[in-house]
Subunit: 349 residues, 2 copies
DNA sequence: TTGTAAGCGTTATCAG
DNA sequence: CTGATAACGCTTACAA
């Protein structure tokens, strides 16, 4: 079992009748090598199955070719959000011979330390971290660690101002405003909002969008109908909160905007249990536009963000930092969102 | 920006008043170092934020600490299958300081070449490949590449016999047999089967299970009701095939077993369009037990395989090969499956 | 266009 | 228990 390239490059050089250096140049697409020579080298290389050693390259070059994409749990890889993002990143970085590696850091308490290690050990040339999985109190642990780290997703303003790291995120507010406009167009006046965890950036911004949209459409917000769910519990949480909403008070909303699709799915379930018809009695809009939105009954209208575009933007930042060696700076990119209308919304009768 | 450890280890050694070698020993948990000395080194190290270089280690040790998990597309990371598997693998390999890296190889035509590169370049110490994404005609390209590669998921028998690689998979047949037993218990006699792509191992084995189950329960198979879907198109495919099934013939099945949850979701949708009530008119069972099975209406009964267990088994094989350096051999592990009953199945009235 | 030499940060080996 | 040395495979800088 010879997994190492021990001496293999030498053999290739010998076989091709050239020096080691020429082999190296060929595998680095150097223009300073004659076409004939290159062919000889390539032939000899494929004969021996030679491939330059990643480790040696990384050591010599001072940085690896791995880009780490940190996720909070293997389960969070579900859904289209990460998938499309990853596809977008790869599309951009692969031509530069960078490898995207998805890394899982379950323990948020040691996240900063882990990031430090990945960078300090040189295992990764750059890291992509979802801000929303990052405990704020650990941010300062990263201070001084001048490294190509970037946050994908929304960071609070004060963090953006002070952090040396770039961020790419979606325009949460705009998505919700569009949703409210859509509902207003359908003559809804009594609109509720099921948010996510209190204080979480995404949740806060989506609620802000809801309120701005309501104001813009001159609709009154009934605070009874603005509730918070647990993003993590998703379905169950949406079910429970919708349940409470329908069991209290005499009047109920004719439309509810939810801060996640899972919450929306739970809300639909709960509403059905109360004998409500969806969308005839209550229109529901989700958020994230997960692939299974079309599997629910009725198919769920939802707010979509283009993960592919997010990925591409991230990729471009990474390439600038790692390949072009541009000095780090903290750019903040905000990408648009849009409403996808399916069958869960209808005009009030 | 000093990302490299250039000379850092030296500084640490100097600060601690020891030699470089002692620093190395400390970071390798060598027992041959005095407690006092270790403390001094550790203190100096944390002071400088020193972390051993991954690249140098890999170069010196002859193998990296990265385990590659190959996936066919970023989107395929959705669902619980990969997520749980990944969690299981990490649980086992992390204590051995191995890092799991999810790698995406979209182009199946170059899969074998990519595997070669990952191994030959030493980028990965071992690779985990889902067999079902592997084009059979490329298998021989891997011949001679004696490397710690293993296949997660079902390989056809003839491959298992001839391949030097281990496999871990689920008992597809058993899952389907259990499903049929359940349906038979509910007095169903007219049972259909919506398989996956013709010839695909999973599809073939699940159909075999369906037939064995039917035979065991002394139920007759109506070949009109045994159809094939496209795993990739999933939902749409299930919809289309169920549509055809209901539009042809005079008699229709009272229960249908589907080879994937997405197909099942599509089948439900189609059946509803034909005015069929689910499960009263037609009971439906899916396969995979995706997390969104409980979001469908009615909640989908499905066949579950324990991804966590799969991951753990894979992890154990990897550790044996990479850490214990056991010689490669081709073990074949088959894990059990079980039926999860929700609301999409009911007794015939 | 090609070759030579030196060194990237670790660790195996051999001394002490 | 600790230290000096060489080598892992590659590429930058400098020659030829």
């Amino acid at each position: 079992m010879s997994l190492t390239n021990k001496g293999l490059a030498n053999k290739v050089a010998q076989k091709a009748g050239v020096s080691l250096m020429t082999v190296s140049r060929v595998f680095n697409d150097s223009p300073r090598v004659a076409a004939k020579t290159r062919d000889k080298v390539l032939k000899a290389a494929s004969e021996f199955g030679y491939e330059p050693s990643n480790a040696a390259r990384a050591l010599r070059r001072g940085h690896s070719n791995m880009i780490g994409y940190l996720v909070s749990s293997p389960q969070s890889l579900g859904g289209t959000y990460h998938g499309d993002t990853i596809a977008g990143i790869e599309e951009v970085i692969t031509p530069h011979d960078l490898i995207l590696s998805i890394l899982i850091v379950e323990d948020r308490a040691t996240l900063a330390r882990n990031i430090r290690r990945y960078i300090a050990s040189g295992a990764c040339a750059a890291l992509i971290v979802r801000f929303d999985l990052f405990p704020k109190d650990q941010l300062e642990e990263l201070a001084g660690l001048e490294a190509p780290i970037m946050f994908a997703s929304n960071a609070p303003e004060e963090i953006k101002q002070n952090s040396p790291y770039s961020t790419v995120c979606f325009d949460n507010e705009s998505g919700c405003i569009q949703a409210i406009r859509h509902l207003a167009m359908l003559k809804h006046q009594k609109v509720g909002f099921l948010g996510g965890n209190k204080g979480w950036v995404d949740s806060v911004q989506r609620e802000a969008g809801f309120r701005k949209g309501m104001a813009e459409c001159k609709l009154e917000v009934n605070e009874q109908w603005v509730q918070h769910c647990n993003f993590h519990l998703g379905f169950e949480s949406g079910e429970e909160v919708m349940n409470q909403l329908l069991s209290s008070g005499t009047e109920h909303p004719t439309a509810v905007l939810c801060a996640s699709d899972q919450v929306a799915a739970g809300a639909i379930q709960a509403a059905k249990r109360w004998g409500k018809k969806i969308p005839e009695d209550i229109s529901i809009i989700g958020y994230d536009d997960q692939f299974w939105c079309r599997f629910t009954t009725p198919a769920l209208s939802s707010i979509r963000h283009d993960g592919l575009q997010l990925g591409r933007s991230i990729g471009e930042v990474i390439v600038k930092q790692v390949i072009d060696q541009e000095p780090l700076d903290s750019k903040h990119i905000v990408l648009p969102t849009s409403l996808v209308v399916r069958e869960s919304t209808v005009a009030v009768s």
